[in-house]
Symmetry: D2
Subunit: 155 residues, 4 copies
């Protein structure tokens, strides 16, 4: 049932995600209400996914023959976070196809006693040929990395 | 079936949305690939929803006794758009509850011959008491406005 | 004297700038204090300058053989502005060199009874060869446009 | 002479700044040219200054009786930086007045063999009463902190 699933989802912790990527907040991230603006969460997810991939594979996103293009994204916001707190993005590969990958993401405090999940994101990258913009297979070095973060849905 | 729905969804036009709100793009919106960064779409949706509500009701979002907080958002990206093109956000109220409202959003070119939908967004606002942060009924002037944008799902 | 100059500078109006470029604000632009974040002003200046140049010359900034690179920028903030107000950027070419151009910029309300200047910006673009990154002469079509906005310093 | 000063300025290193504050870059920071957009530098300066002050004094910028408002900022860009590199902002208090403080800022790579300065910023905060918006003396705990970063101009 929806209600049970949601309860469970809010109980996820950083330990449910195989990769943890540190991200930071900025003064300008806080909106009129003094909390991170909702669009910033997507900037943080994007930064964590690409930082992880670039750091591990050394691929240059601009000159590479294949690019990961976002075709769908989503986020559920459970509690507010704000500058100047440091945060952590949990990354899990939920589905790995031929040319696409679906990420399951969690946003957490980097430290401190509130270990609850602040937000849960979803993200679909489709790899396309840089010139023709047609879908291509995920580059091998990236695929190998992604398999290391494949775990079952924890919620 | 999923495939049929998706085909239909990509055939939405600006005429399927009861409210059309103009938004503009910025140099900094374009990312390394020369197109609008995926997080910018959410900034545009946010701007359209709030610009429409503030413009029509005169409510000041900071001092108002109730605030609309984003609890969920999502976007499907169909084709790229880029600075310096002007864009239009189509707004439809998909569901209107006691304290929450779900928006169905479409992103279109402001003008020009490509009338196809560039992206489709979803957005859930829950109204909370500014002080207690507990859900409250949607303020009456906002509810009245929202009812004017309630139409059936066109896709 | 500094004091007199400053007084004069704050008396500039939109009429002192030969080009007026409309820009809009976003929900996410407002910071914790409910006003446009200081870095957003630079996004607006950038958008006005590039929107004006691209619109008038048809040049594609990514594929063009020469690119305008920002080597210096600055802003004096006179009064706050905020979403959802529409704004206008006044553009004046203060100095036109062989490979560089210095802009004098003013930020104004798009409409309404407050005609005073909200901020004054400065901006230096140096044109470089896209491949070698070495300074080159300003492309001819851009130079022609820039000369149309050359006026004496009004302050 | 201008030329000598500029040469000297480009020779500044992190050692010339009494406070070093780590900042990170984001995917969305890179613009069409693959480098950090010029407005992002100001976000980083803002984040470093406020992160340093909030971290050391525990002051809450929203509820505090006095707020630091930016009245002037500027930046000279010496070389490009880009995501995913980590960066460091050097902070120096160049002038400390009754209600205003002028910062001298340097942007550097967080690590790696390029120790040269990437950009130099300037920043003026004026403290105002949160309610009346009139200038007030810099709060004592902040003033004490600022004096620890006062050094002579190294360039």
């Amino acid at each position: 049932m929806a209600e049970r699933e949601q309860t469970s989802e809010r109980e996820l912790t950083a330990a449910d995600f195989p990769v943890l990527w540190p991200v930071t907040t900025r003064w300008a991230d806080n909106d009129m209400y003094g909390h991170l603006n909702n669009a910033v969460y997507y900037q943080l997810f994007d930064t964590a996914i690409n930082g992880w991939i670039i750091g591990a594979t050394g691929i240059d996103p601009v000159s590479a023959p294949a690019q990961g293009v976002v075709v769908e994204s989503g986020c559920k916001y459970f509690r507010s976070v704000e500058f100047p707190h440091a945060l952590t993005v949990g990354i899990r590969v939920a589905r790995l196809g031929n040319s696409s990958v679906t990420y399951d993401l969690g946003l957490f405090d980097a430290e401190g006693d509130d270990a609850t999940i602040a937000a849960r994101g979803s993200w679909v990258h489709v790899y396309v040929d840089t010139d023709s913009r047609r879908p291509v297979g995920i580059p091998e070095s990236i695929r190998e990395l992604l398999t290391t973060a494949q775990t079952g849905d924890p919620s």
